[in-house]
């Protein structure tokens, strides 16, 4: 079973501040540890379920947050920002499933962690067929093109809810409410 992982950062368990996810900031090293552990938890779980081939596309900011030697599953890592399919680079029709790991809700979404849509310094809002959409919904366009099901979304609860609403996914979202507002820790929501 061959799986594609698009990995963001903000929706990682334990991430609560921009300083943890931006290169050069004081807490970035710690954030990297949390992200790597979360990605590996997904890979390990998928391996237990029978997956044996993994492509991980680092999809956050400059897209060099993960180190290939730290990933489980003998995963192929796609690093760097200048990619034609950006957050979905590497996906094609050969994959059995796509996984959105450490994603977050759209800019302005209530109770989303560190919310933004692609570029917080440029984009105010994105609508897909008239409805406000986040990165998960936009990126789902590529999965739809290649006919690949999105089998897992991890991140804040808003992410899963937005994606399910936006593109008629058949599964239902499960997750936990964050204890506070957008700058608190949270449990991952699974689709």
């Amino acid at each position: 079973m061959k799986l594609f992982l698009s990995t963001d950062f903000e929706g990682t368990s334990g991430i609560v501040a921009w300083e943890q996810i931006i290169e050069g900031q004081a807490e970035y090293a710690q954030g990297r540890v949390l992200l790597t552990n979360e990605v590996n938890a997904v890979i390990a779980g998928a391996q237990e379920a029978g997956a044996d081939e993994f492509v991980v596309n680092d999809a956050h900011s400059f897209m060099r947050n993960l180190h290939p030697q730290d990933l489980l599953g003998n995963a192929t890592l796609i690093s760097g920002r200048h990619k034609p399919l950006y957050m979905m680079e590497g996906l094609d029709s050969s994959f059995d499933g796509a996984l959105f790991v450490s994603y977050h809700g759209s800019i302005g979404a209530e109770r989303a962690i560190l919310s933004h849509t692609y570029n917080p310094r440029a984009i105010w809002e994105v609508r897909l067929n008239g409805e406000i959409v986040g990165e998960s919904g936009i990126n789902a366009l590529v999965a739809a093109h290649y006919g690949v099901p999105i089998i897992l979304v991890s991140g804040d609860e808003v992410t899963a809810r937005e994606l399910a609403s936006q593109c008629r996914l058949q599964a239902s979202a499960r997750g936990s409410q964050p204890r506070c507002a957008e700058y608190s820790d949270h449990a991952p929501a699974l689709l």
Partner: protein, 73 residues
């Protein structure tokens, strides 16, 4: 994972329309440099396509272009 064989890919009503509202008008100006981008309002553009991959690629081009206005490295 146990149900992966029964899971279906996401689907969208086509043609799909992506409307992007930027923080400032300069970004919308720049976005219109990309083919198939339509200006809707001072800060808002739209990309419409039947082909979802082409639509996403146009969106990425818009993102990377407008990053040039705000990114410092």
């Amino acid at each position: 994972m146990q149900n992966i064989q029964t899971m279906r890919p996401p689907s969208f009503e086509r043609p799909v329309s992506l409307e992007v509202t930027f923080l400032v008008a300069d970004m919308a100006d720049m976005a219109c440099w990309v083919r198939n981008v339509e200006r809707l309002a001072t800060r808002t553009i739209a990309i419409r396509d039947e082909n979802l991959l082409d639509l996403y690629r146009s969106f990425v081009a818009v993102i990377l272009l407008t990053r040039a206005l705000v990114d410092t490295h």
